[in-house]
Symmetry: C2
Subunit: 376 residues, 2 copies
DNA sequence: TTGAAAGCGCTAACAA
DNA sequence: TTGTTAGCGCTTTCAA
């Protein structure tokens, strides 16, 4: 078993019996003290703690798990990519898990790997985790496999239910709405949306928030262009959109795509924000330093993780208690230099649509264009 | 214990005795088969496997760990930030760990948290991990605590040794050297370095590689400016450097700082790459889409993680076998548009230094400047 | 090639 | 308030 080093001749790692012997109590009493169980006199508690300290005693987790049927660990299924969102979730989750007295086990899955979520889940369940977090729910996987421990799904819409599934709202919809409204309030007639892959719940949330904002303001709903979160896909979408001279504002579902999109605009000779405004999503570390500095919204990763895990742990420890409704997190819109009022008169576009209320499918129609094609 | 769901009335999870009974063998034989031990007849093996399959049997890891003294898990101490490097390491490590038949436990530490590494390590050791990975070694912590399981340190220089410590070379030095040489070969008289925090081994590696390149080319070694990896620190450094009209090329220790630095140049009215060339480090996802697209080097996270963990697992499983030397990974320099030959004649600078061979301390001297101060 | 018995170091149930 | 007695479900002797 692993311990902090016993230097040199390594006397055998102490067991709880050793502590008991030294403290002059029974082994069970040691267990009581260490588990903060009631009915231990202050005196005995002190003696046990001192003895444990003196011996450098640490409980054997494997034995605890075997005897109690609980590992006090939580598993997280996360995406095997360094995308800012998933990485930030993981950090927040680990912090929250540790604060709650649990430990974290991680299994990654790669997007597009069929059964990836299932096998990551299976690996975690094999390890005996007491609960599972699915940090970036994607269609496929979730729901295909059923699990007999509580599950926390971050960011899934509340319509997603199953036995023992708890959800923490990310509020991506509200953030998206705020981002869109920021543009509308600057005077843009409408706002285009460069969406994330719609298999991701978080991408759908953002799209829904965008749509709500448009409806609330009575603005036209232009067709949606779908990217894959990458700057490259944002660039490609940017070139599509540029052809349509009517586009004056775009809300991108993440900063990477926003940056790619801006790049495409600049190459096409359109200025940001003078000709076209762009809002991103995430506030990645470089967002403030790209050109132009990016207006974006920031997700409350830590707060949501903390909140979600508190729920999860409650379900694990007291399955019968009613759950309190999760509090919404405040919206943080960070206005920088990539947004401005629309240009005085929109560039006359041959792409102007006849139907004012075109409801976009997942893919926007590429409009004709003669954009210069500089590859970055 | 947690298992894939037993729907409905949940018959009790099967144990190895149940499998044994069904297969008509002893429980020990089941254990033999499942552990791929020798001396099992093909016939018996088949029967056991079938029985296990039929019952949906899965071994109880806690019991295995308790009986064997090994958890078949590896712990990683990682930085509690969404920095691209640490996040990428984590992904690569998880993948490698799983491929080797181990599972991953994670403990994060925040930079600047005194004893953070120590307590993260302690948490992992408490969990009984069979080995530990320190993914971004920072001074403090490492070496202060001693551990009785093998440790893999990624990216620490080979001078770092201790009992049971293995190292995988990241090759950051070679990458840094390549980045610097790229600039020198473009014709720059010398190359400035915007370093990472020197408490990080990876930052020191990069600095060393830069220095080597300069020496090999007989170039002056200007004072080093030290940042903290953030774009903000790159921006600040950029404003310092701009005052010095002699600077025509900068190698930044990561892309975020490079982007901040470029931003400062643009605000100061200097063009990149016409007036000043910048090379980054990491190839973050947006690097190709910022303006100008960033020349950078890419770290072989996955390959190094795979290699390092193979070593670690070998030490865990066969402590006595000699380790093979780790193979160096190929250098990947990605040339984009942020680098070019130096301007015909350097802008006459009042900051020109008298001593040609000034060896920089960790902080560069701020040169006087009258840079416009637009905050991003 | 297979099996029987004896723990691994705890927690749980019950007794005192 | 404390202690005693049984396991938890495997792996590890050792014997057959």
């Amino acid at each position: 078993m692993t311990r902090l080093a016993r230097p040199g001749g390594s006397p055998p790692t102490p067991r709880s019996v050793d502590v008991a012997r030294l403290a002059g109590v029974s082994q069970k009493t040691v267990s009581r003290v260490l588990n903060d169980e009631p009915y231990v006199s202050a005196d005995v508690r002190r003696r046990v703690l001192d003895a444990a300290e003196e011996l450098g005693y640490r409980r054997n987790q494997a034995a605890r798990a075997l005897a109690s049927g609980r590992t006090r660990s939580i598993g997280v299924v996360t995406l095997g990519s360094a995308l800012y969102g998933p990485a930030s979730w993981l950090i927040g989750i680990e912090r929250a898990v540790r604060k709650l007295g649990y430990t974290l086990r991680v299994a990654t899955t790669i997007e597009g790997d069929p059964g990836g979520i299932a096998s990551a889940l299976a690996s975690l369940l094999d390890q005996g985790v007491d609960g599972v977090v699915i940090s970036e729910p994607i269609d496929e996987g979730v729901g295909l496999i059923s699990v007999d421990v509580p599950v926390l799904v971050l960011g899934a819409p509340p319509t997603f239910t199953a036995p023992q599934v708890v959800t923490a709202r990310v509020g991506a919809g509200r953030l998206a709405r705020a981002a869109t409204e920021h543009l509308l309030e600057l005077g843009h007639a409408t706002v285009h949306h460069l969406a994330g892959p719609q298999r991701w719940y978080s991408a759908r949330d953002r799209l829904a928030g965008w749509r709500e904002a448009l409806r609330a303001h009575g603005a036209d709903e232009p067709p949606v262009v779908e990217g894959d979160w990458s700057a490259a896909s944002g660039y490609a979408a940017g070139r599509e959109l540029t052809g349509d001279g009517t586009v004056t504002a775009v809300f991108a579902a993440n900063d990477d795509m926003a940056i790619g999109l801006i790049r495409a605009q600049l190459e096409a000779g359109r200025r940001v924000p003078e000709d076209i405004s762009v809002v991103g999503f995430d506030d990645i570390p470089v967002a403030a330093y790209v050109t132009p500095p990016l207006t974006t919204v920031r997700q409350p990763f830590d707060a949501v993780a903390r909140q979600g895990l508190a729920l999860l742990v409650q379900v694990i420890e007291k399955p019968d208690v009613e759950l309190p409704p999760a509090a919404d997190q405040p919206v943080e819109l960070i206005v920088r230099a990539s947004t401005a009022p629309p240009p005085p008169r929109p560039i006359p576009g041959r792409g102007r649509r006849a139907t004012p209320h075109a409801h976009g499918g997942p893919h926007g129609q590429p409009a004709g264009n003669e954009v210069p094609s500089t590859q970055p």
